[in-house]
Symmetry: C2
């Protein structure tokens, strides 16, 4: 298939992004490497004054035969040693590293070439891009990428669209900037396209239309829901029809699992004959549907390698990527050089195949964790339609939705207010020695009034609340123990 | 001396900073470590799935007998080995490390305790703080800290004060946000307090007064000037009188040197009998004068250890620090865990004394580099009052100021416009194989009209321009070679 170029979306840039000048120093920093120029231009310390001479880290070796949670022994047969030297070297096999003299120097706001080339190749393998002039840039993770996105596209007084419940920091970051966060209803399968379209078709013609949809399509936080490929195609069509951008925040993308099977005898974890089969099993990303450069994808190593790497990346059209680069020159400059040397050195040694092996190994672990969690919920939650569990097919989270109107003291003690029951349950849980998180913490409740017909404000099910739990953060025995406590607490609370 | 508490400066917070909610998830993340709670609360991956098992870096060992540029041999006598393990350990001598299981996990937005405690102790040693409730927090360096400062204190339409020439990225970051950058005249010794006071005494009563002075007091970028202790005290008094905050951006603070001595026979580099003597030799910081919590100090490891660490810190009142923390929770989250493990592990092994030894070693190197640069300027610059060099006592930069009106074609070719001569010289330099940077790149030229009497707009010397060079970025032979090229080019350009 011949693919075309991305469209010009500069009409969406904020006044700030349009006004931002590039540092003139960046226009000459390439001369630092020019052998014909004596570079007295920039305040770059000599790399001989960087104290660190070399760096070594050990990780397991693909294909991770003993599972990804098995630490390397230090022996060559199961250990991948990354040894990063101070200086560039042309010795074969060393060119995959970001040497410390470069990693610890200024420059490369977009990210170090060795990291970018790995991520670019990975993106090409996984996402089947539909336009030609896309690129990637390194970020400090998706939290920072989202903040940058708001600064680049939004003004005070703008409205953005998000899932009705979404990552609270993402909401608060927008709200602090004076941006209205307009909630889009979602169900067990994510955003409901018909509702989204209805909202936009009936948008108040006097109000500014939203520029941007923020979505966590896979293993959504907090609901655990995942958007189907069909819904994504519908949402992309609506984005074209109503002309807005889509930011897909995808930290959990590679925590996709098999569908949950309650009958243990029928349960099996999919194995893959090839990496191509694994890739084919993955949900289609928004960016892989995108023919115009309307989608920005925020990816991260936080959930698949470690949050503290503070390393992620954006995939978008070159025009949009360069706008992020200009912003980053004045904020983070670039992610930590140590992180780039270590993550880049590891991934380039593992190779694309090795990284896919890691992700497949991670899938096995999360599949098991999800199964243990949902099994325990079935075992320990009181059997009643008051409680509903939606077994997730991706991510770290399960939710327990609760019909508060069935609480014996709903009217008497809680004045028929679901949020008061929610708070009481939260406190009861902590008292019982388990922490799960109220759905209210994640509610996008921006102003829907001016543009919105009253009908769309209706909650799907107004007396239902939910709690978010995670099966990621603790080992399996703790997980079962925790969910048992949840069950006991809910039984007591509802006098069952 | 009994010291009091910082004042409440929340009146200076931006609407955004005031509106910013703290993530509710942060209110329960401490329960992650609580043995009585089964934590199903947050999306934290298990640390056993972090691929890196351990990390080793080597640096030289204090007191750096062979100089700081001498790489460690790997032997115990001259090598400091930082070996960071995956897990916490209580084994004596290991408690100074940030273990990978914590460094690579979520949490600790303010910075890892081991890093903060080192930086806190260092700050106490160097700055003689005058109020009790100050604190530190980790940043990704001063570029990011400045961006955060603008977001926390400034609104679109606000005015801030800066040196008339200052770091261009700092200007552009403010301007992109719609903040007016009001230039304060400076001379060879930094901001001129009398001019600053005159400006503020004569501020247009109908215009908003500036909330903030941004200054690079030591080895100022780009002028190379350093503010004297007396001037700092005056500026602090003016800040109290006119009620504004001071952001001291101090990446070059520890690149202080001896006064330049042209006569080589009289030249000697100060040696210090003790670390106390070294500390006593340092210029007083604004924060050490601050009795109220009116000063925010941005410090960084970029110039003393390496820019790519992307690790710095802020010193300010606890009230102000906590506001930065709330912002960082929604932007960077925290600096890279690898950076914190490596820098923290190194510094905690070196100890406060070892770090001061490093800084003293750095002083020796920069002293020599500065001397070589200024000697070469004296040797190669045509001898004429057209050119003026101010030997710096700190930082990385020298400047050559040039009276453009003395250019033989000033009127005929350049229409009596200094900026045209400046551009021509810049191009001539590159053609001659040397890069130095036009002062115009650093000019704060925000709107001074509304609040400002015409008199203050006068340039000190309107036909003079300057170029910034650095003696940091190249070895000594290259430095001499480069300055020779500068001399030749200027001689040709001015037909001398």
């Amino acid at each position: 298939m011949t693919v075309g170029e991305a469209q010009d979306f500069s009409r969406f840039f904020s006044a700030e992004a349009k006004a931002r000048k590039s540092s003139p120093l960046k226009t000459c920093i390439h001369l630092f490497q020019d052998p014909n120029i004596t570079f007295l231009g920039g305040g770059l310390p000599l790399s001989k004054y960087f104290p660190w001479d070399n760096l070594k880290v050990e990780s397991p070796l693909p294909p991770f035969k003993n599972g990804i949670g098995h630490p390397p022994s230090g022996d060559a047969e199961d250990t991948c040693l990354v040894h990063v030297r101070r200086d560039e070297t042309t010795k074969a096999g060393d060119t995959i590293d970001v040497p410390l003299s470069r990693a610890l120097q200024y420059g490369h706001s977009q990210g170090q070439p060795e990291v970018l080339s790995f991520v670019r190749e990975h993106t090409g393998l996984v996402h089947d891009m539909k336009y030609s002039d896309w690129d990637v840039m390194a970020t400090t993770g998706n939290t920072g990428a989202w903040e940058s996105t708001l600064r680049i596209f939004c003004e005070k007084g703008d409205t953005i669209l998000t899932e009705q419940h979404t990552f609270s920091s993402s909401i608060y970051a927008a709200e602090a900037q004076g941006i209205n966060v307009f909630p889009v209803p979602l169900d067990d399968n994510g955003i409901i396209p018909e509702r989204l379209e209805y909202i936009l078709d009936n948008w108040n013609p006097e109000a500014k239309k939203p520029k941007l949809l923020y979505t966590i399509p896979t293993g959504q936080n907090p609901t655990g829901s995942s958007l189907s490929d069909d819904r994504k195609a519908e949402i992309y069509r609506i984005a074209q029809k109503h002309d807005f951008l889509i930011l897909e925040d995808e930290p959990y993308y590679f925590l996709q699992m098999d569908k949950y099977e309650q009958d243990v005898s029928k349960r099996k974890t999919t194995t893959f004959d090839s990496h191509a089969d694994f890739i084919a099993s993955l949900t289609k990303s928004f960016i892989s549907l995108d023919t115009e450069g309307r989608v920005i994808r925020a990816d991260s190593f936080s959930k698949v390698l470690g949050p503290g790497t503070r390393l992620g990346w954006i995939v978008a059209s070159k025009q949009i990527v360069s706008t992020y680069v200009r912003l980053h020159e004045m904020t983070i400059q670039n992610p930590s050089g140590f992180s780039q040397s270590i993550v880049g050195g590891t991934l380039n040694r593992w190779g694309q195949d090795g990284y896919l092996d890691w992700l497949i190994g991670l899938r096995v672990e999360y599949n098991e964790k999800r199964d243990v969690a949902i099994d325990a919920l079935h075992k320990y939650l009181p059997e009643t339609p008051i409680f509903h569990v939606n077994p997730p097919i991706a991510g770290m989270f399960f939710t327990i939705s609760i019909d508060t109107s069935k609480h014996p003291e709903f009217a008497s003690k809680y004045l028929s207010k679901p949020e008061l029951v929610e708070q009481a349950i939260y406190e009861k849980m902590i008292e019982s020695g388990v922490l799960i998180v109220p759905g209210a913490w994640f509610k996008a409740d921006g102003d829907t009034q001016p543009p919105q017909p009253a009908e769309n404000k209706k909650e799907l099910d107004p007396t239902r609340i939910f709690f978010r739990g995670t099966f990621a953060a603790v080992p399996l025995d703790k997980l079962q123990e925790g969910i048992k406590k949840v069950g006991v607490a809910l039984k007591q609370e509802f006098q069952l």
